[in-house]
C-alpha cells in the first residue's frame, strides 16, 4: 500500500486519521491523498488468510520458504503478519493486510454509530 514519492515512500494509509484513503499521483514526487472516509477504506480488511498448522506441516517446502521470507524480510513480516514467528492460537499463522494497530483504528470507525455503523448494516 506504499508507492514512491520522490526520494521517500508515500502510503495509502493515513496515520493521523487511522484510515486508508485513495491518492492522486500528479507526477514524480507529487501526490495527495483523498481524505474521503468511505467503504474504500474498509476493503483492506478483506485481505486476510489463516494458515493452519496442519497445512504448514504437510508442506515442508512451502513452510521452509515462508520461514526464509520471514527471517530475511523482517521489515515485511513484522508489519504484515500477526504472531508470524510465535504463532497464534494453536500455532496458526495470520496473514493480514492491516496489522493489529491499523485494524483497531479502522474498527473504531467501522463500529461507531456516528460513522459507518447503522441499524441496517455498514454505511458505504
Amino acid at each position: 500500500m506504499t508507492y514512491p514519492e520522490g526520494a521517500q515512500d508515500a502510503s495509502l494509509w493515513n496515520d493521523h486519521d487511522g484510515m486508508y484513503y485513495d491518492a492522486i499521483v500528479f507526477g514524480p514526487g507529487h501526490s495527495m491523498q483523498l481524505p474521503v472516509r468511505s467503504l474504500v477504506g474498509l476493503i483492506p480488511l478483506y485481505g486476510t488468510l489463516v494458515l493452519e498448522p496442519a497445512v504448514l506441516n504437510r508442506f515442508p517446502g512451502f513452510k521452509k520458504r515462508m520461514e526464509w521470507f520471514i527471517d530475511n524480510r523482517p521489515e515485511v513480516s513484522k508489519r504484515n503478519m500477526a504472531n508470524m514467528k510465535a504463532g497464534g492460537k494453536g500455532e496458526r499463522r495470520l496473514l493480514a493486510l492491516a496489522d493489529k494497530d491499523r485494524l483497531v483504528k479502522i474498527l473504531e470507525k467501522m463500529l461507531d454509530e456516528c460513522e459507518f455503523l447503522s441499524e441496517h448494516g455498514i454505511r458505504s
Binding site: M1, Y3, D22, L39, F62, R65, M66, R79, S124
Partner: protein
C-alpha cells in the same frame, strides 16, 4: 473478465466453493484455477501504471460513493492509486494461495506456486521497494 469486474471476485467465489461444498475433485479445481492464474498477471500488469504494486482502475463496485468516476480519466489530471483496488489484489492473491495449497495436496507442483503467491501478497502490501527473490 471485463474491465468493470472486481479483480478478485472469481478467485473469491471459487475459494468459497472450496469451503461450502466440501472438497471438489482435483481436476474440477484445476479447471477453475487455470484462468485465475492467467488473470492474475493480467491485472498486475494492466492496473498498476506506476509498476509499484499499488493498483487503480476498474469499477470495483464503489464508484457511486467516490468523489470521481474512477473508471474514467481524472478531471484533475494525474493517476489514482486506489486503496480498495490494491486491497482487492491482495485478497485475490491470498485466495490464490489458499487454492494452491488445496491443489498441492494432489500435486506437489502447486506447493511452489503457493510459495509464489505468498511472496507476492507481501510485495503488494509493501509496494515499490520489495523484490521477490527466487529461492
Amino acid at each position: 473478465m471485463g474491465e468493470r469486474i472486481s479483480p478478485s471476485l472469481r478467485g473469491c467465489s471459487k475459494s468459497c466453493c472450496l469451503t461450502s461444498r466440501g472438497a471438489p475433485s482435483f481436476f474440477r479445481l484445476l479447471t477453475l484455477t487455470g484462468p485465475l492464474c492467467l488473470f492474475f498477471p493480467r491485472w498486475v500488469n494492466r492496473k498498476d501504471a506506476g509498476g509499484h504494486n499499488v493498483f487503480e482502475g476498474g469499477f470495483l463496485g464503489l464508484d457511486n460513493i467516490g468523489a470521481f468516476n474512477r473508471s474514467e480519466p481524472l478531471p484533475t489530471g494525474g493517476t489514482l492509486r486506489q486503496a480498495d483496488g490494491t486491497a482487492w489484489m491482495a485478497f485475490y492473491c491470498l485466495n490464490m494461495l489458499s487454492i494452491a495449497l488445496e491443489l498441492a495436496k494432489h500435486n506437489p507442483v502447486y506447493e511452489d506456486i503457493a510459495s509464489k503467491f505468498f511472496e507476492v501478497s507481501f510485495v503488494i502490501e509493501l509496494g515499490n521497494d520489495i523484490e521477490v527473490e527466487c529461492l
